[in-house]
């Protein structure tokens, strides 16, 4: 592989682009495949198979050929509402996972650069903040303030946009009250039931890093279900 190709791959990864690296393992040649872009002429005859692998987000050698496809997927967008103590540990656990994280918190003291250096942190109310983040059914929401003023608008946005994962922090009672409010706002029971509340898988721990670990475990597990 040429150094230049490696650099191109890293730039594409940094820009959260989806692409595949195609290599002929008999000749050592490789090129970057992108959807709807012209395929390198040495690989043209495998165009259909390459597109198939890419569309199925699959890696592997095309049958009866020497062509290897290595697909690079866009990271999963994760929006955390609440720049709280648990959030700091969530970031620690998530740093080696393919997540693109945004933190929303309208409270100035919480959403400070010092607490969250080099992060996408939006010091606005959720409704305004979501205008800056493009979200869809492949996005995830982690709501951690357990303050209805802040969490509820974010939960509503996530439900309307059919996020594949929605989790909300709070006790069982807090969650019951939350479900009641969402019901009164017109959300269907099945939508409300899709919220993971209380958030996280049961590990037993109650400290911030332990709760963060239980949330990340649940999120990864749900990512593979969707």
């Amino acid at each position: 592989m040429k150094k230049q190709l490696l650099e191109q791959i890293l730039i594409k990864k940094k820009h959260k682009e989806e692409f595949a690296l195609i290599t002929n393992i008999l000749t050592g040649e490789s090129f970057i495949f992108e959807k709807n872009k012209k395929i390198d002429k040495n690989f043209e005859k495998y165009s259909d198979e390459i597109n198939n692998y890419f569309n199925n987000k699959q890696n592997g050698i095309i049958e009866n050929t020497d062509i290897f496809i290595d697909t690079y997927l866009r990271p999963v967008k994760v929006i955390i509402v609440g720049a709280v103590h648990i959030t700091q540990y969530l970031l620690d656990y998530a740093k080696d996972l393919n997540f693109e994280i945004f933190i929303i918190d309208p409270r100035r003291y919480f959403a400070s650069e010092k607490r969250f250096p080099n992060m996408n942190i939006i010091n606005k109310w959720p409704i305004e903040a979501f205008e800056e983040i493009k979200t869809d059914s492949s996005s995830a929401l982690i709501a951690l303030t357990h303050d209805p003023k802040i969490d509820d608008p974010a939960l509503k946005h996530a439900l309307k946009n059919k996020f594949f994962y929605i989790g909300a922090l709070g006790s069982k009672t807090t969650h019951l009250n939350r479900c009641q409010r969402l019901k009164e706002s017109g959300f269907k029971e099945e939508e409300i039931n899709s919220i993971h509340g209380p958030i996280g898988i049961k590990l037993g721990g109650k400290s911030a890093p332990e709760i963060a670990l239980s949330i990340i475990a649940q999120l990864v597990s749900e990512t593979y279900k969707s």
């Binding site: 592989m1 490696l6 650099e7 290599t23 592997g60 697909t71 080696d96 393919n98 990864v220 990512t223």
Partner: protein, 109 residues
């Protein structure tokens, strides 16, 4: 598929190159049976035998390092190697876990 994994191996490869190391990139291109690392898994090896990442659960990495050093020394651009299930009675390299893998080694130049 590696939905939530973002191995930083390629970033590390780039920083090794920037530090004037010779680097071999090693990728799992095919697996059979219960091989521990999925297709696309990577490791890198430099001319000193330092390595990062993995292509198995530690079963074949030592052999891969030797092969990578040869590749770097002979300045051969690439090589394909297959590893089969190991014979537990022999001191050969293989996959104790019962899987088989094909590995592609290439020099980044």
């Amino acid at each position: 598929m590696k939905k939530t994994i973002d191995e930083k191996i390629l970033d590390e490869a780039n920083s090794w190159i920037k530090a004037n190391h010779k680097v071999a990139l090693v990728t799992v291109i095919k697996t059979w049976g219960s091989s521990p690392r999925q297709v696309g898994s990577k490791m890198i090896v430099n001319e000193n035998g330092d390595f990062s990442g993995s292509v198995s659960g530690g079963c074949v990495e030592s052999s891969i390092i030797d092969e990578s050093l040869k590749l770097l020394k002979d300045n051969k651009p690439f090589k394909k190697i297959e590893f089969k299930v190991s014979n537990q009675n022999a001191w050969e390299v293989g996959l104790a876990c019962g899987g088989e893998i094909t590995i592609y080694l290439e020099i980044i130049n």
